[in-house]
């Protein structure tokens, strides 16, 4: 499949994720959108890795592995980030009994 299709798809997913982070009020939904952004990037990495593999298959049977390796790193980071983030949301809930981010405006002071 032409690489453009993958790029468009990944951009679309990323923009949806950004829009969600900026617009939604629910903290958990914002989180999900962050995950969406990360996954869009993963998709793009894998697609490019396959593209490079197909192009360089003759010279080196292991070409294009780097993209997929990096996806593992991103997944690990995403997992760690989720655990920390959910812990913060839990604390947030305990303090304000809601997961609405608009209530977190004390940084102003």
């Amino acid at each position: 499949m032409p690489i453009n299709y993958y790029i468009f798809l990944a951009i679309t997913l990323f923009c949806i994720g950004v829009a969600g982070v900026l617009t939604r009020r629910n903290a958990i939904v914002i989180f999900m959108c962050v995950e969406l952004m990360l996954n869009a990037v993963n998709l793009l990495l894998v697609a490019f890795s396959k593209m490079h593999h197909l192009a360089l298959k003759a010279a080196n049977p292991n070409a294009g592995i780097d993209g997929q390796l990096f996806v593992f790193f991103i997944m690990v980071v995403a997992a760690a980030e989720v655990s920390v983030g959910l812990a913060i949301i839990a604390m947030m809930y305990r303090n304000t009994h809601s997961v609405d981010v608009n209530f977190l405006n004390r940084l102003k002071h």
Partner: protein, 633 residues
């Protein structure tokens, strides 16, 4: 010995520093000893240098201490020049200065120790500056001294600083001096651009080859400086006001030394002036006009010091007349004799003022002859000297100038003699009103009248002796051939000028007649004034023409309208309009802008996390776009 000339200004400088820095800790007697002692030391060194200079075949010695200014090709060394002219002035300054310092120890004894020390430190600083002026080997060092004496004049006139009027008089003196200094400075710049140097030797050797117009310009500008410093028209009005200072200050600065700085400068630059006949005419006419103007004002003044002040302005006019007609030796001779008798007159006036407990109005004096014998005799001798009665010193010097003036143009002589008559008249009016007739003060003052202590009378006696015999160094040829010691002494200084000027071809007969006419007329004025004022002093208010004279021809008022008021109006305009509306508006505007900006930026800090994230995203997009376009380019 000439190599030690740097000691001469160094002693007064040390005196200034000692008395100035330690003024809180020194007793009055110690202050007086330090102050007077350093001047005596300078006088002794000057005397030794004089004996050196007097020897036959003496060549001018230039002692260069260090390079004061070194800018590209221009080198101005801090150098002293020892020659006949500078050593003569050194002797006058330190000699008369020493006598005045001794006088001051008694005159100023009512001051507290702190202010007494301040007085002496300023006086020493003045002598230091004046010595720099006359010893400098180039115009820049002269200018340093020139400015220094102007400063000390300000400091000393305004010595009793708590009196606002005295402070204003001090400011007036300094500001008028500075106006003249502008002329001097421009002349120095012109000299640098024209000759590449300001050293006397170089400037004087290059002058004969310079264009006429340039020399005229330079000399005219230098003369402007001289009018400020030596109180000629139009910058003379500060001198009468300067009488606000203590009387010894008036004697030293405004009679014997500072005001002669202009004459020294022109005498030093004589070659340039001889080569610029236009400037010489200007100098002569200005001097003559000033002499007459001041003399007319003096005949109606009632403050003893003001009469002497106008007399100083008038005598300075005569000196400039002498310089303007090429009688350089005569002018310097008059400087010397004038230093003696004018200092004597001022110190005598101080003695009178002291005895009368600070009364200065001569209408309230009279008959002091009995009570102040020494002051009386010395004052009388000085009056004879200034009136130009032979054989006193003033006769010889004034006559030399008048004879030279006659040769240049008989009109100069006629007006000069008229001025000399007026001089004799007002001086003896002053003498008679003060010392003769009945005493017109209060009986309280009468009981307190006593002759001043020896610290005051001793300088009076010394100066009286000098006023009487001081003229004999300048006996003219027709009386005694080859007896003009001063002319022979100063001949190397004026040799170049004398060569260019036409030789004096006056008939002996004419010269005798000139002398007889001037001394005769002066004697008539003396007798007339003596008789009139000892019998009937002018006690009432002045009327008619006398009013104009007593009001100094309204010159101060004229300057006020012409210059002072417009300047004040300009300053007020600049303050109210430009300063307040424009500059403050800009400065405050900047402040307001910063405040407005920060208020707007503060709104970014909403505390809302969503807003921050939005900003992050936007900046990311912008960076991305920039990257894209940078790559493209």
């Amino acid at each position: 010995m000439s190599k030690l000339v740097y000691l001469v200004p160094l002693f007064p400088l040390a005196g200034f520093l000692l008395n100035g820095l330690l003024r809180k800790n020194l007793s009055k007697s110690l202050t007086g000893i330090i102050g007077s002692g350093v001047i005596l030391a300078s006088f002794i060194v000057s005397l030794l240098i004089f004996f050196d200079v007097k020897k036959d075949g003496f060549q001018p010695v230039v002692l260069s201490l260090f390079d004061f200014i070194h800018a590209g090709g221009l080198v101005i060394p801090f150098a002293f020049q020892v020659d006949q002219l500078s050593v003569l002035f050194m002797l006058i300054i330190t000699g008369v200065g020493f006598l005045i310092h001794v006088y001051s120890t008694s005159y100023m004894h009512e001051e507290s120790a702190l202010h007494f020390a301040r007085y002496f430190s300023f006086l020493n600083l003045f002598v230091f500056s004046m010595l720099l002026l006359v010893l400098g080997a180039n115009y820049v060092i002269m200018f340093i001294g020139w400015e220094g004496v102007g400063l000390c004049s300000y400091l000393l006139i305004g010595y009793w600083f708590k009196n606002v009027d005295y402070g204003n008089a001090a400011k007036k003196a300094f500001i008028m001096n500075r106006i003249g200094d502008l002329g001097f400075l421009i002349a120095v710049f012109w000299m640098i651009s024209q000759f590449g140097s300001v050293t006397f030797a170089e400037v004087f050797t290059k002058s004969p080859n310079t264009s006429h117009t340039i020399l005229t310009g330079i000399t005219l500008l230098l003369f402007v400086g001289a009018t400020g410093k030596s109180a000629q028209i139009p910058l003379y009005t500060w001198l009468p006001d300067a009488m606000a200072g203590p009387t010894p200050v008036s004697a030293l600065i405004h009679a014997a030394t500072m005001v002669t700085a202009g004459i020294y400068m022109i005498a030093r630059s004589n070659i340039m002036y001889t080569l610029s006949p236009v400037t010489q005419t200007v100098v002569a006419i200005t001097g003559l006009a000033t002499a007459i103007l001041a003399a007319t004002i003096a005949i109606k003044q009632n403050d003893i010091k003001k009469v002497l002040a106008y007399s100083t302005v008038s005598q300075l006019g005569y000196m400039f007349l002498g310089l303007g007609v090429g009688a350089y030796t005569g002018a310097v001779f008059h400087v010397m004799t004038h230093a003696f008798f004018k200092a004597l007159l001022f110190l005598g006036a101080g003695s009178v003022i002291h005895a009368m407990h600070n009364e200065q109005d001569i209408r309230k004096m009279g008959g002091l002859k009995k009570y102040l014998p020494v002051t009386h005799i010395t004052f009388l001798l000085a009056c004879f000297a200034i009136a130009g009665i032979p054989p006193f010193s003033g006769f010889f010097s004034k006559d030399e100038i008048l004879a030279a003036a006659y040769e240049k143009n008989p009109v100069y002589y006629i007006i000069g003699v008229a001025g000399a008559m007026l001089t004799a008249f007002y001086m003896f009016r002053l003498y008679a009103t003060t010392f003769l007739g009945p005493f017109r003060g209060t009986s309280q003052q009468k009981h307190a009248l006593h002759e001043s202590p020896s610290a005051i009378t001793f300088p009076l006696v010394i100066l009286a002796i000098l006023s009487v015999v001081g003229g004999f160094v300048g006996i003219p040829h027709i009386i005694l051939p080859d007896a003009h010691i001063l002319e022979q002494f100063l001949s190397p200084i004026f040799a170049a000028s004398v060569k260019i000027q036409e030789a004096h071809v006056v008939h002996a007969g004419t010269e005798w007649m000139l002398m007889l006419v001037s001394s005769g007329l002066a004697l008539i004025a003396v007798v007339y004034a003596w008789n009139r004022y000892s019998r009937q002093p002018e006690l009432g208010e002045v009327q008619g023409m006398g009013k104009a004279l007593a009001s100094k021809w309204y010159v101060d008022e004229f300057y006020d309208v012409l210059i002072v008021r417009p300047l004040n109006a300009l300053a007020r305009f600049l303050n109210n309009v430009i300063e307040k509306s424009v500059i403050d508006w800009i400065v405050n505007g900047v402040g307001k802008m910063v405040q407005y900006g920060s208020r707007q930026i503060r709104l970014l800090q909403s505390g809302q996390v969503g807003g921050y994230v939005l900003l992050m995203v936007i900046s990311l997009v912008i960076l991305f776009v920039i990257q894209l376009f940078l790559r493209k380019m």
